[in-house]
C-alpha cells in the first residue's frame, strides 16, 4: 500500500497548487472580469437613474435582456446538480474529478441568475416587496404569481446547492488548513469546522451527501419548470403552451452540459490538471450533451409545431415573425445548437479532444442564449391586438456582458479559495477502480458503492 500514500501526496500537491500559488495570469483574469463587471454595474446604476426606458422594450413585449439573461443563467446553473447528483445516483464513477468544478459553476451561475429578477424590475429599489416578510399592513406577496414561484425556487435551489457544495468541501478545507499559515490558516480552520477525518465524520459526511443527492433532484427539476411556467402560465399566444416546463428543463440541461464542457477544458488548461481530467471525462459529458440535445430539439420542435398546428392566425403570427424578422436567431440556433453538435459529437476522436469539446460547449451556449431570445421576444411581439418589436440597446448588451463578467469574477475568486478538483473524492475514486489479477487475467474490478436507499 506504500505507493498509495505517495500517490495521495502527489495528488494533494497538484490539486492545491491553484489555491496556494497566485500566478500572474490569475491576476490578469481577475482584473479583466473585474472591469467587465464594473462596466455592467455602471450600466445597472444608469438604468436605476433613468428607468427601464434605457432598454429596448416597448408596449407589447415588456420583457427583454434581463429576463433572457435570467433564464439563460438559471439554465447554466442546472449543470452542477446534474453532474454531481444524478451521476452519483447512477453510480457513474467517472464523475469524481469534475463534481467540484461543476458545483462551483452552479453556485456562481445561480448568484448571477438570482440578480436578474431584481435588475428587470421597474422599481428595483423595492425588490424586497417580493419577499414574504411580516409587515404591519398585513400585505403578503401574491403566491398565485409565477414570479413568486421563481423567487422561492431560486432561493431553495441556492441554499441546497451551496449546502451540497460546502459539504463536499469540508475535507479539502481540512487538508488546506494543515498546509497553510497566517490568515489562510485562520480562514480554512474556520471553514473546516474542526474536521479530523475520523471514520464517524466520514460516515456522517456520506450520509449528508446521500440525502442531499436525492433531495436536490426535485429542486433542480422544479427550478426550471417554474422558469418555464413564467411563460407557460401567461395567455400570450406563443407562450401558452403546456410543453414549456419540460422544454425549459431540457434547454437548461443542454446549455448546462455545454457550460460544463467549457469549464472542464478551461480549468484543465489553467491549472494543468491533464492527469485528473482525462479524455474519458470529455467523452462521457459529450455523450450527455448529445442525448440531451436530441431531447431538447424534440421539445423545441413540439412547441413550434403545436402553434402551427392550430391554424389560428393569432397563434401563427409569432411563427411568421420568427421566420421573418427573427430569422437570424433561428439560423444561429440551428447552426450552433443543432448542426455543430450533430457533426462533432458522434466521433470518438473529436469527443475526447478537450479543445473540440470547448468549441462544442461554447457553440451550445451561444445557441441556447439565442433560443432564450426566440422564446422571450417573438411571442410577446405578436400579441392579440398590438404588435411590437424589441431592438436591444447598448444597455441590454452591456448588462449581458456584465453578467458574464460577474460569473467570471466569482469563478476566478472562488478558484483562489477552493481546489477545483475535490481531493477526497478523487482519492476515493483511485482506490475503488483498482485492477485485480485473478488467475492470469487482469480484471477491472469496480467495487460498487452500496446502493442508496
Amino acid at each position: 500500500m506504500g505507493d498509495m500514500t505517495q500517490k495521495s501526496e502527489d495528488i494533494n500537491k497538484d490539486l492545491t497548487r491553484g489555491v496556494l500559488q497566485t500566478t500572474r495570469s490569475w491576476w490578469m483574469c481577475f482584473l479583466f472580469f473585474g472591469t467587465v463587471l464594473a462596466w455592467g454595474t455602471g450600466c445597472f446604476v444608469w438604468q436605476l437613474v433613468h428607468g427601464i426606458d434605457v432598454y429596448g422594450m416597448e408596449r407589447p413585449n415588456y420583457w427583454g435582456a434581463p429576463i433572457i439573461n435570467f433564464v439563460y443563467w438559471a439554465g447554466v446553473a442546472l449543470s452542477g446538480t446534474m453532474i454531481s447528483a444524478i451521476l452519483r445516483l447512477l453510480h457513474a464513477g467517472w464523475r469524481r474529478s469534475i463534481t467540484r468544478m461543476t458545483e462551483t459553476l452552479t453556485v456562481c451561475a445561480l448568484l448571477v441568475a438570482g440578480l436578474f429578477p431584481i435588475i428587470h424590475l421597474g422599481r428595483n429599489w423595492v425588490f424586497f416587496w417580493l419577499v414574504p416578510y411580516p409587515n404591519e399592513r398585513g400585505l403578503w406577496p401574491n403566491y398565485k404569481s409565477p414570479l413568486l414561484w421563481d423567487a422561492t425556487a431560486i432561493s431553495v435551489y441556492l441554499v441546497s446547492s451551496v449546502l451540497f457544495w460546502y459539504s463536499g468541501l469540508i475535507p479539502d478545507f481540512a487538508v488546506l488548513r494543515d498546509r497553510t499559515t497566517g490568515w489562510r490558516h485562520e480562514l480554512y480552520s474556520m471553514l473546516a469546522l474542526k474536521w479530523k477525518g475520523s471514520d464517524r465524520e466520514w460516515k456522517r459526511l456520506r450520509g449528508v451527501s446521500a440525502i442531499l443527492t436525492v433531495m436536490i433532484i426535485p429542486v433542480f427539476v422544479s427550478l426550471h419548470t417554474i422558469v418555464g411556467w413564467d411563460f407557460g402560465m401567461s395567455i400570450v399566444p406563443g407562450w401558452h403552451e403546456s410543453i414549456f416546463a419540460p422544454y425549459f428543463v431540457c434547454g437548461a440541461l443542454y446549455s448546462g452540459a455545454g457550460a460544463v464542457l467549457v469549464i472542464m477544458c478551461l480549468v484543465r488548461r489553467a491549472y494543468h490538471l491533464e492527469k485528473y481530467i482525462l479524455p474519458k471525462h470529455f467523452d462521457n459529458v459529450a455523450k450527455i450533451v448529445m442525448t440531451i440535445g436530441l431531447l431538447w430539439f424534440y421539445f423545441f420542435a413540439g412547441d413550434a409545431w403545436s402553434d402551427w398546428f392550430t391554424e389560428d392566425p393569432t397563434h401563427i403570427n409569432w411563427l411568421v415573425y420568427l421566420f421573418g424578422g427573427y430569422k437570424w436567431a433561428l439560423i444561429t440556433l440551428a447552426f450552433f445548437g443543432m448542426l455543430v453538435p450533430l457533426v462533432t459529437l458522434p466521433f470518438k476522436r473529436l469527443r475526447t479532444s478537450p479543445w473540440a469539446m470547448l468549441a462544442v460547449g461554447v457553440s451550445v451556449n451561444i445557441a441556447m442564449f439565442t433560443e432564450r431570445i426566440i422564446v422571450v421576444v417573438p411571442e410577446a411581439s405578436r400579441s392579440w391586438l398590438a404588435w411590437g418589436d424589441y431592438t436591444p440597446t447598448w444597455v441590454d448588451v452591456s448588462i449581458t456582458i456584465g453578467a458574464f463578467g460577474l460569473f467570471g469574477f466569482l469563478y476566478t475568486l472562488l478558484s483562489k479559495f477552493i481546489p477545483l478538483v475535490s481531493l477526497w473524492e478523487f482519492k476515493e475514486g483511485e482506490v475503488v477502480d483498482a485492477v485485480v489479477t485473478v488467475g492470469n487475467a487482469q480484471v477491472p474490478v469496480t467495487v460498487r458503492e452500496e446502493a442508496i436507499g
Binding site: R59, Y62, L121, G122, R123, W129, L139, P146, L147, S234
Partner: protein, 261 residues
Amino acid sequence: MALKARTQEYLKQAGKPADQSGVAASVRTSSDRKWGMVIDLDRCTGCHACEAACSAENNIPVVGAEQCHKGHAHQWIRVERYWEGNYPNVKARFMPILCQQCGNAPCEPVCPVYATYHNPEGLNVMVYNRCVGTRYCGNNCPYEVRMFNWTEPAWETPLDQQLNPDVTVRGKGVMEKCTFCVQRIRRAEEQADADGRDLEPDEFTTACAQACPPKAIVFGDVNDKRWSVNKKREDPRRFTLLEELGTEPSVVYLKALDDEA
C-alpha cells in the same frame, strides 16, 4: 362567427369555469354595484376627444416624439383606426380600446405584489405605490391597454398647475391603466353618502364619456337597471372584445353599420 358560437355552446354544456380569479371569492363582487361601459362604434367619429379628456383628468404625462417612437406612449384609451380594402373601395374603422375592467382579468393572478386586484365594485384596480414594475400584467393583458412609466414623467412650470389633485402622479417604474375614473366614482359615492341618499342613475360619468361629442361612450352601474347604460347593453349590435379568452370584459361595444347596398 364559428369561434364565438362554439364558445357559447361549449360553456353552456360544460358548465361555467370554476370560479377562481385573482381574488378570494369572498372579496369579489360582494358590493351590489358593478361599473360597466358601452361604446357605440356607429356613433364614434374617431375624434380622440376622449383621449384628450382622459389625459387632462388622470394626469397622463406627455412623453415626447422619441418616446413615442420607442413605443412608450401613455394613452389609457387609444382610438385605433383599422384600414380595410384597397383604393378605391377602402374603408376605415375607428375602435376606441381601453381597459375592459375584466371580470376574470388575466393580469390579476400574475402580479407578484397584488398591485392590481379586483375590487368589490367589479373594477380591476391598480395600486400604484404597491407596483414594483415586473410588467408581467402588461404581457398577460390581451388588449394591450396597460401603460408603463418607462421614464420619470415631467411637467415644466406652470404645466404642473393643471395636475388633478384627486389622482396620484405616478413615478417611473409603475404600471398604469384606465381606472374608469375611479376618483369620480369615489367622489360621487362620498357625495351621495354625505347627502344620505343612494347614487342616482346617471349622476356622474367618466371623463371620456362626458367629453364624447357624438355620445358614443356611455358609463354606468350595470347592476342598477335605471342607469341608461343598461338599455344600451341589450342592443342587438352588442359584442365584447376577445370574449373567447374568458376575460368577461365589462366594456360592451355596439357594431358599426355599413349601408353599401
